[in-house]
């Protein structure tokens, strides 16, 4: 029986451009509903491995800037709201 939850990082087909060979890596999350036909697949780019002509390797991570900014805004709003609530609650009880 297939796993309910699968998370893995897979490497793709390498591309050769000039002196560099680029191998992309992606992370995938698969969630299946036990006993029911259905599920969720979430794929995200993870990093690229760059191998140059001299054999030097460099891993360049791929950062999701949009998602990072979104979470920062959500986090900031929650923290601010919490601080406002604590501040006004103290003032009300004083």
């Amino acid at each position: 029986m297939a796993n309910f939850f699968e998370y893995e990082i897979k490497g793709g087909k390498p591309f050769k451009f000039g002196e560099n060979t680029i191998t992309p890596f992606a992370k995938s999350l698969v969630i299946r509903i036990p006993g029911l036909p259905g599920g969720l697949v979430w794929n995200k780019p993870e990093s690229v491995l760059v191998v140059n002509a001299q054999g030097g390797e460099e891993v360049i991570p791929i950062q999701d800037t949009t998602r990072r900014i979104e979470w920062t805004l959500i986090g900031a709003s929650l923290i601010t709201s919490l601080l406002v609530w604590i501040l006004f609650r103290k003032r009300a009880t004083a």
């Binding site: 699968e6 897979k10 490497g11 793709g12 087909k13 591309f15 451009f17 000039g18 560099n20 680029i22 992309p24 890596f25 992606a26 995938s28 698969v30 509903i33 029911l36 036909p37 259905g38 599920g39 969720l40 697949v41 979430w42 794929n43 995200k44 780019p45 690229v48 760059v50 460099e58 360049i60 991570p61 791929i62 950062q63 999701d64 800037t65 949009t66 998602r67 900014i69 979104e70 805004l73 959500i74 900031a76 709003s77 601010t80 709201s81 406002v84 609530w85 501040l87 006004f88």
Partner: protein, 157 residues
């Protein structure tokens, strides 16, 4: 009847409905399984990275985040008349499914004679929407905390 493969109109009818029910369920499950297999195949690297685009000595590989959700449901029912002497039988089955695939560009990998670099793709609309939501939430919270009775009074009127 001498030939066993022929259909028996009396005893065979009930068996035939059961067989039909089983066959329909199996066929439906096969279709669902095939669709699920195709769906799960999207969990690979090729789905995330696009084909390289060459422009002179520069090559760009686009990358995207892909979220796919899918679900199925099916059911069937068979029955016969409860009245004596009435041999009417009937049944039916149905199924349905739905899904959604969301894709969003994340970054572009650029390979040029200077080297390889990753340029993020920023979705300004998404950020603006998140900012407006967060700002509205904070403003609402501050206003509510500053004058809770007034705010409740306004809502009531």
């Amino acid at each position: 009847m001498s030939d066993e493969s022929n259909f028996d109109a009396t005893e065979g009818e009930e068996m035939d409905l059961d067989d039909l029910e089983l066959m329909e369920s199996e066929q439906t499950m096969d279709v669902i399984q095939d669709t699920m297999d195709t769906f799960l195949e999207t969990a690979n690297v090729d789905a995330v990275y696009g084909e390289p685009i060459e422009n002179g000595q520069t090559v760009v590989i686009p990358s995207a985040e892909i979220l796919a959700v899918m679900g199925f449901g099916m059911g069937s029912g068979y029955g016969s008349s409860s009245e004596e002497g009435d041999e009417n039988q009937g049944g039916g089955s149905g199924g349905g499914g739905g899904g959604r695939v969301l894709a969003r560009p994340v970054a572009a990998i650029i390979s040029s004679p200077e080297g390889v670099r990753v340029e993020p793709i920023v979705d300004v609309t998404k950020i603006a929407l998140a900012g407006l939501t967060a700002g509205g939430f904070m403003l609402g919270m501050i206003l509510r905390m500053m004058s809770p009775k007034k705010a409740v009074g306004k809502i009531k009127t």
